[in-house]
Symmetry: C2
């Protein structure tokens, strides 16, 4: 596809199309979205959408790309000294979700995945590669994948309540307060002994 | 509508329609679902859907009804002695989600809410009335709504990772093990002192 169309316009037009697709997938639904309706919402020529993204699956793949800062933020937090790492993970999450541009992208990834199996498959991949693998990689012992998964439950639950559902006190507190409230939990999952009566079933790493 | 149609059939036919609507809202999407397609999926006469539910909004309202056991399970856990209540909340959650019938209902409520604003509004209402209000009512002091909201973040995050996204170790561990791992966190949010450096911003109750 390279070489067709005026130079420099690709980025701008493609970004408009992706933004329109994000909104439509997340609100109208993946199934109810057509390449034509995306073109209309984006205010571009209908031929441009298949030209840039070929199919609706191609457009979905583009929509499911996480913000560039996402992987870097998680990785940077994972490199903090262990006694500060719990807070660092919460801060990394808050900084991504308090920024409207990356929040919009993350939100559309979650909402699209919740209704389209192909998108859910991609969400699982991203989550495993960018969150669980990075977090667990920073931990030394056989409990590392379990600890990473526990951390994910607390982070995802905060995100759902505060940013997606907007329900409860957690939705309206200042970001710094949320960090203060959740950091000890994340630190607990990172570094505290796990319950001794766990069977062999949890040794999955 | 009462009195029309053969007696006794209402429950059975309506249940078939609701089940078909749940599946369609959660997978195909609310916008892409029609009363006619629901009738077809349910294997009932197309006229029965508007006859029983009037509009798609009426059908949505029916789909957003939580399992009967839901409110009772949360309320029973909230009445446990404080030192056992954290575990009781996790056990109540696990029992609802490990049961395929109630899990299917809860899952469709979440997935439908994530794409339809009217359903999201209903989810917030249900969540506030059946979870946050009940949990916080069982707590004595000015921190009760904050504590209930913190509990909700951990419970919802476990549900999303284990039952909706099915990602990470938390998705495959035995339910009892998940309970052992999360109960201390819920107990912490219920009963431990909150960070002292929180500003006035968190006093929302």
């Amino acid at each position: 596809m390279i070489g067709r169309g005026p130079r420099g316009e690709r980025g701008e037009q493609a970004a408009k199309i992706i933004a329109a697709a994000r909104r439509s997938f997340a609100t109208r639904g993946y199934a109810a979205t057509s390449l034509r309706s995306v073109a209309q919402d984006a205010g571009v020529d209908p031929g441009l959408v298949p030209y840039y993204f070929r199919t609706k699956t191609g457009l979905l793949e583009a929509v499911m790309q996480p913000p560039e800062a996402f992987g870097a933020a998680v990785a940077a937090a994972a490199e903090q000294p262990m006694d500060q790492r719990g807070r660092a993970f919460v801060q990394a999450t808050m900084s991504l979700w308090e920024d409207p541009a990356s929040a919009e992208i993350l939100r559309s990834i979650i909402l699209t995945a919740d209704q389209e199996p192909a998108a859910m498959h991609r969400l699982r991949q991203l989550f495993s590669e960018l969150v669980l693998a990075v977090v667990s990689h920073s931990l030394p012992d056989s409990e590392r994948t379990l600890r990473a998964s526990l951390i994910a439950t607390q982070i995802v639950g905060m995100v759902m309540n505060r940013y997606i559902w907007q329900v409860g006190d957690i939705a309206t507190l200042p970001a710094d307060t949320v960090t203060d409230l959740l950091a000890p939990t994340i630190q607990h999952y990172l570094a505290d002994p796990l319950p001794t009566k766990l069977g062999d079933g949890w040794r999955l790493s």
